[in-house]
């Protein structure tokens, strides 16, 4: 008894450790199955776990959605501003790219024209719909005179009229008062291109016998000296030959998109003194 009294505590500890190890060793083969103890404890706790878990989730939501998002509005505004700024830069980039393409084509035309030229930008249009004129930002101070040819990357635009020191008015080839000596590129048939309306011209004085077909390219003939030979004017869209009459009726669509013209070249040759 004396022995037990003296060593009771270490013996109990030892037995407890051995029992614990025994429980452990007995459960090792079935470590993946819930035993009675586990089932009882989890079963008893589960009604409590669910609301506590929900409360925890709610608290987390509150934390994440409100307390941590104090700066979100500010950040949102900053990001929106960034997007606006980037969109603006994108638009500017696209515009520069398109302008670059147009100017490249204009430069090609400039190289092909065998005369000094000066580039100009369209700054205005005719105030009425009855006349077809444009206003460009170059005038007599830049060496422009009345009666000079105006071309764009696609072809003939018209000629200068009413030149001031800093601006010039361009009489478009579609104006009724305009007349340009022209040739059909394929058959070399000749005529005079006269303006008819907003986006249409006619080839006048082309006799019935001349070979003109729809789709033919019309170019300047060089006669008259205003426009150099070979500049594209447009394309034949309609040919009509009546039973009688000397001339045939030919409609032409201008090569240049006149309503959307932005940059032009003024050929500094000729002109009226």
């Amino acid at each position: 008894m004396e022995f037990l009294k003296k060593y009771l505590y270490p013996i109990v500890i030892g037995i407890a450790i051995i029992a614990a190890l025994l429980v452990f060793s007995l459960n090792v083969p079935r470590s993946r199955e819930a035993n009675l103890v586990e089932r009882s404890v989890l079963g008893a706790l589960s009604p409590l776990l669910r609301p506590v878990s929900w409360a925890g989730g709610f608290a987390e939501d509150v934390w994440d959605s409100y307390i941590r998002l104090v700066d979100t509005r500010r950040e949102n505004l900053r990001l929106r501003e960034d997007i606006r700024s980037l969109n603006q830069r994108l638009r500017e980039g696209n515009e520069t790219f398109l302008a670059n393409q147009r100017l490249e084509r204009l430069l090609d035309m400039k190289k092909s024209v065998k005369a000094p030229t000066i580039s100009a930008t369209v700054i205005g249009e005719d105030v009425t719909s009855w006349f077809r004129t444009l206003v460009i930002n170059r005038g007599s101070a830049d060496g422009i005179r009345e009666g000079m040819a105006v071309v764009s990357a696609d072809g003939v635009v018209g000629q200068t009229v009413k030149v001031t020191a800093s601006t010039s008015r361009v009489l478009l080839l579609t104006d009724h008062a305009s007349g340009i000596s022209a040739t059909i590129q394929r058959s070399r048939a000749r005529g005079v291109v006269k303006g008819k309306s907003e986006m249409l011209c006619t080839l006048e004085f082309a006799t019935r016998e001349e070979d003109v077909k729809v789709g033919d390219t019309v170019i300047t003939s060089g006669i008259g000296g205003l426009f150099m030979k070979g500049l594209p004017i447009g394309e034949v869209t309609m040919v009509k030959r009546g039973e009688y009459g000397i001339f045939q009726s030919v409609s032409i669509r201008p090569a240049v998109n006149l309503p959307h013209l932005e940059e032009v070249l003024v050929v500094q040759r000729g002109g009226y003194e």
Binding site: S129, W130, H176
Partner: protein, 164 residues
């Protein structure tokens, strides 16, 4: 006409020209371009005196010619003729009426068309122009009448240009 009214008129004319030359063509088809100077001219016709209005009408027409076509003096002549004709009957009309203003603008648009066509046929060589003018006159009439109706809504529309 007072100095303030003159200055206001000058500002309105300059703004109208800038809008017509540089802004409207970008957004509006040629047939639907309004003639703002014509609307201003009609306003002056109905509100101003013969002595002041006649030279202003002529100058407005001249400005129209400077910004349009080849023939300087064409619209100046038609504006002046229109002014004199309307002025001769305006004393018998209720000139403050917005409806009258709209109708007068429409009438002057037609008169301008007729006179311009007549003068160009007589004095210039523009074959085929009549067809283009005829095809444009209806939208032009509608747009000018619309602008006139919008102008009639502006505050100060019923004010007189000159104080006696």
């Amino acid at each position: 006409m007072s100095r303030r009214a003159s200055l206001l008129l000058l500002c309105i004319v300059v703004i109208s020209i800038v809008i017509q030359v540089a802004l409207i063509p970008v957004f509006v088809r040629p047939s639907f371009k309004p003639d703002l100077l014509l609307v201003i001219m009609v306003f002056i016709t109905l509100r101003g005196s013969l002595q002041v209005g006649a030279p202003i009408a002529w100058l407005l027409g001249l400005l129209d010619d400077v910004c349009s076509g080849l023939y300087l003096g064409l619209n100046a002549a038609t504006f002046l003729i229109s002014f004199i004709v309307i002025r001769s009957v305006s004393d018998r009309l209720y000139a403050d009426s917005a409806m009258l203003f709209v109708l007068t603008v429409a009438g002057v648009t037609l008169a301008e068309f007729t006179l311009n066509l007549l003068l160009m046929v007589m004095f210039t060589s523009s074959p085929g122009l009549a067809y283009s003018m005829f095809s444009d006159i209806f939208p032009r009439l509608l747009v000018n009448a619309f602008i006139a109706s919008v102008v009639s809504l502006f505050p100060g529309f019923d004010c007189q240009l000159e104080t006696s």
